[in-house]
């Protein structure tokens, strides 16, 4: 500390430079993630205008062709251009994956928070409900919702949200459980801060890490799970392109790796992007790491 003071006059210039460099080193991945998301956002917005081929243009004479200059990502088992289908599939897969994770995640976090904070019988009730929902056969729920409300993407998302929230509830409850009896929370109480304010301003930043990690991990999972519903006719209806469904449909084509591989890489890119962004978000939120 004494040394720092001695060097103080030289610090400002050096400090700014290395600060920037350190920022770059820390935030290049999130920047990359943001870039990927931006690209997909553009693809979603501009969508149909930039497709080289119609995504439903069936041409049995051009089945299963490997990637080439004519078809960047090759063709599938009905002769359709995989590149066009991947681009168009972004419009369905990305938003639904995000919707499931965001809605299901925040619902779960909320429920878990209430449970942890309220304690007692309410906590028991909510957590046991979470356990039961985890045990519920997801397919039955999806089929029932489809029977009651009709088949469609919205109802499929509803089914997924209904089964998605319990793990977030359990996670957030377990994290908040640890914090709620800590001294700083009691101090906040003593200062007169309300429960919600304490929760948001004090507890959440300390517990955000694992929650953000799970949220970002789950995006890919949600896209793939959505495809298993489409597979059963409960989600996206063919021939609408949907990444997860494309991966599943191409699974048995062992030698034609691009039919599954290209949409798979699209999903991977989205997962990577959100994970990098998530890490960056976490670093940015955490007051301690921001200083360093």
């Amino acid at each position: 500390m004494i040394q720092a003071e001695v060097q103080a006059p030289a610090l400002p210039m050096v400090f700014v430079e290395s600060h920037a460099k350190r920022r770059l080193k820390r935030y290049w991945l999130p920047a990359l993630g943001a870039a990927i998301v931006a690209v997909w956002a553009v693809v979603i917005l501009v969508g149909p205008a930039i497709l080289p081929y119609g995504p439903t243009a069936v041409d049995l004479t051009a089945r299963l062709q490997p990637p080439s200059t004519a078809h960047l990502f090759g063709t599938d088992d009905l002769g359709r251009d995989v590149f066009s289908r991947v681009l168009l599939g972004a419009r369905l897969s990305l938003p639904t994956g995000l919707a499931v994770v965001v809605i299901g995640g925040f619902l779960g976090i909320g429920i878990g928070g209430i449970a942890a904070y309220a304690g007692g019988k309410l906590e028991e009730g909510l957590m046991r409900t979470a356990d039961v929902v985890l045990a519920f056969p997801p397919l039955i729920l999806a089929m029932a919702i489809a029977a009651a409300r009709g088949v469609g993407v919205g109802n499929a998302v509803l089914s997924l949200v209904a089964i998605w929230w319990p793990q977030y509830a359990r996670l957030s409850r377990s994290l908040i459980l640890v914090q709620r009896d800590q001294e700083y929370v009691q101090a906040a109480h003593a200062l007169g801060h309300g429960a919600v304010r304490t929760l948001l301003r004090h507890i959440l930043p300390n517990t955000a890490g694992p929650i953000v990690a799970l949220l970002t991990l789950d995006v890919g999972n949600a896209i793939i799970t959505f495809s298993s519903l489409s597979f059963l006719g409960l989600g996206a209806v063919p021939p609408t392109p949907e990444w997860g469904a494309m991966v599943a449909a191409g699974r048995l084509l062992i030698n034609q790796w691009w039919v599954s591989g290209m949409p798979g890489l699209a999903i991977l890119s989205v997962v990577l992007a959100f994970n990098f962004l998530g890490d960056g978000l976490r670093d940015w939120l955490d007051p301690r790491t921001r200083q360093r």
Binding site: G79, V151, F231, V237
Partner: protein, 539 residues
């Protein structure tokens, strides 16, 4: 304190490494060595639907291949010829009492695997048990009124309705003759109360009491079925000591196992997978023409679809489909197409007939018909099918998308509605679907088993009320004994169906199994049991 930590670290690291070494040695040590002389035949297929090996109860797709090898019927049919019955346990048979009964003469000196001799009592017991169990398969025995024993080697089967066929039904593995003494001991019944009181199924699920070349020793659900050679078989003993029918639900896994030689035959490969195996050394593709269809059932009910209730619109739809494209493009030519609902190979149905009177793609004609129907701008309808399912390796989903693309060219918009299997069956059989792509496989080897349902249960599903003339025609053809006259009647019937346009047969697949070249004699049949295991020998 710190020393403890390091100690613990080192200990856990050592344990981990030890585990890894163990794993590696286990894997490498247990890796297979191939067998020497071939004594075991291994087939890879999906047997998860098998829920019983009791021959009078089983009625699923995967069980007959086993049943046919362990139980034998009185008569049988050889691959490719589904008109002439061949002797098996019966050496001769004749129609008596003006068609009211069939008399079978049993082969002498045939023993069950249990040691008991085959007699007419066993035939009577088997047939009546099938009838009175009133289970899924019992519908096959509907036309049997009763069975009389004339003498130990002669049995008379009396028909309930002599105008309807019975003989072709009897090749079905459900008529596989069981040792009645043993089955009775195990609580089996052939009396009218069998549906409530028969208790032999649990026993028959684990042991077989038939006369076949193999016998059942073990059935491990969703794992494998094990058969061993029957040493007292009445013909030349079977070529393999053991047969294993291994449960491998995933076709891609079947490919891997076949290539590695862990299975000798893969039964459920897709068209593209078979393609990729062509030319691989050590692997051959065996093909067999089937009598199954993939077809589209289209409703006549205005409540379900106003446009489709108009016959002309349905006909237009059928002229819009690119049949050749489906067969060449999606199946590589491994299929044929009948004119209507009677398969090529039966009832006067041939590919020439299809060319003569059947539908083909004719977009102009389709458009003209639509105009005539008052639908010059086309129409929309819902096309349902089973998700995740396929016929002979061609998935409904792919075919549906192809149909959608074809019909769009004549402005008919097909809205695809995939459904899970249970849902589809329920809705389709209730007659609640506008259009369905579905599958037909034979109840028995007689054209009436295709014709009759079209005016009975299938008609209900498409909400068609056939006029009495149509129903009478089907019945007349079924009862006609002269083959030429019968075929002519069926051709007439098919013209009627074509005009009515409720049923559109897309293709009649040629099934392919991939086998290793260390076995021979592998032949596919359309008669229901896929392959006759007895014929297969090591090369």
């Amino acid at each position: 304190m710190n020393r403890c930590n390091t100690h613990r670290c080192v200990r856990s690291a050592t344990i981990l490494i030890g585990l890894l070494v163990l794993c590696l040695s286990v894997i490498l040590g247990v890796g297979q060595a191939a067998a020497g002389a071939k004594t075991v035949l291994v087939l890879g297929t999906d047997i998860s639907d098998t829920n019983s090996l009791d021959p009078q109860r089983q009625f699923v797709y995967s069980a007959p291949i086993t049943e046919h090898a362990i139980y034998e019927t009185l008569i049988t049919m050889t691959p490719g010829n589904y008109k002439d019955a061949k002797p098996l346990l019966a050496t001769a048979w004749e129609t008596v009492e003006n068609g009211a009964a069939l008399v079978f003469h049993l082969r002498p000196n045939v023993k069950f695997v249990t040691g008991n001799p085959l007699t007419a009592d066993d035939v009577k017991f088997t047939f009546e048990r099938l009838k009175y169990l009133k289970d899924d398969a019992s519908a096959l025995a509907e036309n049997i009124a009763r069975v009389d024993v004339i003498d130990p080697l002669t049995v008379k089967v009396v028909l309930a309705d002599k105008t309807q066929p019975l003989l072709p039904f009897l090749i079905a593995p459900n008529f596989g003759i069981v040792d009645s003494k043993i089955v009775k001991q195990q609580g089996g019944l052939s009396t009218p109360d069998a549906d409530k009181n028969d208790k032999a199924t649990a026993f028959l699920d684990q042991r077989s009491v038939g006369t076949g070349p193999y016998t059942l020793t073990r059935w491990s659900r969703s794992t494998e079925i094990e058969l061993v050679r029957n040493p007292s078989y009445w013909r030349q003993p079977a070529a393999f000591e053991r047969v294993l029918i291994r449960h491998i639900p995933d076709s891609a896994t079947q490919v891997l196992q076949l290539k590695r030689g862990d299975i000798d035959a893969a039964l459920n490969l897709t068209f593209d997978q078979l393609n990729s195996l062509r030319g691989t050394s050590g692997i051959n593709i065996v093909k067999g023409q089937s009598l199954d269809f993939m077809y589209v059932a289209i409703t006549s009910s205005p409540d379900l679809s106003q446009p489709l209730s108009n016959k002309l619109a349905r006909q237009a739809l059928m002229y819009g489909i690119d049949y050749d494209g489906i067969i060449k493009g999606l199946i590589g030519g491994d299929a044929i197409r009948p004119a209507s609902f009677i398969p090529v190979g039966l009832g006067g149905s041939t590919t020439d007939l299809t060319r003569e009177i059947g539908y083909r793609q004719d977009l102009d004609k389709a458009r003209a018909l639509l105009a005539q129907a008052g639908l010059p701008n086309g129409f929309a309808f819902d096309l349902s099918y089973g998700s995740g399912a396929d016929v002979g390796g061609v998935s409904y989903e792919v075919v549906a998308q192809k149909l959608q693309a074809d019909l769009a060219r004549v402005k008919i918009q097909a809205n695809l509605k995939p459904m899970e299997q249970g849902n589809l069956r329920t809705a389709y059989r209730k007659g609640d679907l506008a259009a369905t792509i579905t599958f037909w496989n034979p109840d028995a080897m007689d054209a009436s088993l295709w014709a009759d349902p079209t005016v009975q249960r299938v008609a209900k599903r498409v909400r068609w009320e056939p006029d009495t003339a149509a129903v009478a025609l089907a019945k007349q053809a079924a009862g006609e004994l002269n083959p030429q006259k019968r075929d002519a009647l069926y051709v007439q019937f098919q013209k009627l169906l074509i005009d009515q346009a409720n049923l559109c047969v897309l293709f009649q697949p040629v099934y392919s199994h991939a086998i290793r070249d260390n076995i021979t004699g592998y032949q596919l049949t359309a008669a229901g049991w896929q392959v006759d295991l007895y014929d297969i020998k090591p090369r």
